[in-house]
Amino acid sequence: MLTKELNETLTSVGPGTPMGELMRRYWYPVAFTRELDEWPIKRVRLLGEDFAVWKRPDGGYGILQESCPHRAASLVYGVVESEGLRCGYHGWLFAPDGRCLEQPAEPETSSFRDKIRAQAGRAQELGGLVWAYIGPEPAPELPRFDVYVMNGVRDIGHSVLPCNWLQIMENSVDPHHVEWLHGRYFGFLARQRGFEMPSAFTKSHVKVGFDPFEWGIIKRRVLEGQTEEDDDWKVGHPLVFPYCMRVGGNGIDQMQIRVPIDDTHTWALFYSTHNPPGLDDYPEQMYPYDYEYQWIDERGTHIVDYIEGQDVMAWVTQGAVTDRTAEHIGKSDIGVTMLRRMFRENVAAVQEGRDPLGVIREPHERIDLPCERSKFGAGAEFAIQWIDRGSSRYSPHADDLKKLHIAAAQARGEKVPDGTGP
């Protein structure tokens, strides 16, 4: 259990809070590039603050506080111009760095505009997403993690969830939930409702381990029938500090992204790159496929007959901000314990003027993260189960993704699962 004070410290991300200061040292996805090509300005809420993100005529991106410093009208209803973003109300013009360039109704000789500065961050594109940084300068590099830059077909399911981001991150260092939530519980549902569940998650955990590394925590497990020589222990997969988890292998690589909108809302994305072995070329995509996955039905009941829907149920039903003063955690939760300590240590690092874990300042092409290759099993059969019983089932291109995996299996000379031939 934690004290109320510590729970509040770890879960509050607004400006001026210890965790808010830590979390402002990182880049976050805030939009799809597709969205800003369709309309060049979008309202964004990030870490408890509201912003206007826009696409500049030169192809770059900008992010400014939503509220105009003049009289607080929303800059989301502004005019995109070559020099910056102009407020739609009285025409004040702001440069991407926040300088006020024009105040059309003020006397021409006035220097009033020199006294005005809007809160500005930085924004740039990577992997079909627009990323924002709203922390202090100098801004670090935007980490180019493998999933965002590797070849393949990109498919992104996303939804806004009504809960604090930390309880989602704690799930990422909780290996035991897999055999219960996605194993026993999934099996119970499958029997009750008469469907087939993926068989990959039913094995018992013999041992779990957690090692800090330069990007976060590597999570390892030995499952029933495995040894420490298996990928699940030898390689594992990482929690990418402070708000992501990397999973996948053998044809589906995924980054699970949890963007703290504020203390009680999280934008949860499943960014998948499908790259099954056997194919050299993939269909051209102007943008990644993006779509909202459904997690609650019209009666307010959680949709739990797919993997991520089960996770969402567990995250959201813990409450908007779970009360850790009433919890009872055990030895099987040591990953959670370790993550809390890691957050506390990195809050201190920021307070002492140091870069926290995972901030990178060197330009780079690609960051490869350790991730077990054999975790999900090989072949089209598992990939199809993963799509049918995962959030990708909500993708408007789910059938195309399945065909991609079948074509790859055929190219590898493998047997195509019954009833799935193109």
């Binding site: 109320k4 004070e5 009433a326 030895k331 314990t337 300590r341």
Partner: protein, 104 residues
Amino acid sequence: MTRRTEEASSASGAGPEGEGTSDDVGANGRRLTGAHWWDPDRRRHLADLPRHCPRCSARLDPETGISVEYWEADRRIYHTWCRSCGWTGDIIKVDRMVGHETAD
């Protein structure tokens, strides 16, 4: 709530530091959220939270460290990090000293 706060001080054996707040149960200047049927137990656990680093004696609170309680069978363990000296380790509350059982 006043009565609850008094209970908290009494149950925890809080000394000069013992205090509650108007809206929470608490002990030793630390607070809990909400009310539950197992509150007497929660207050005892709260009172047991380490208050000082075992190495440098610096005070441990949300600003100066972290101590997270977890269970291992009957043992209550406080995973602790001290910002002041960097010490990291587990502090174990011992209720009863038991050695090896003798074989018959």
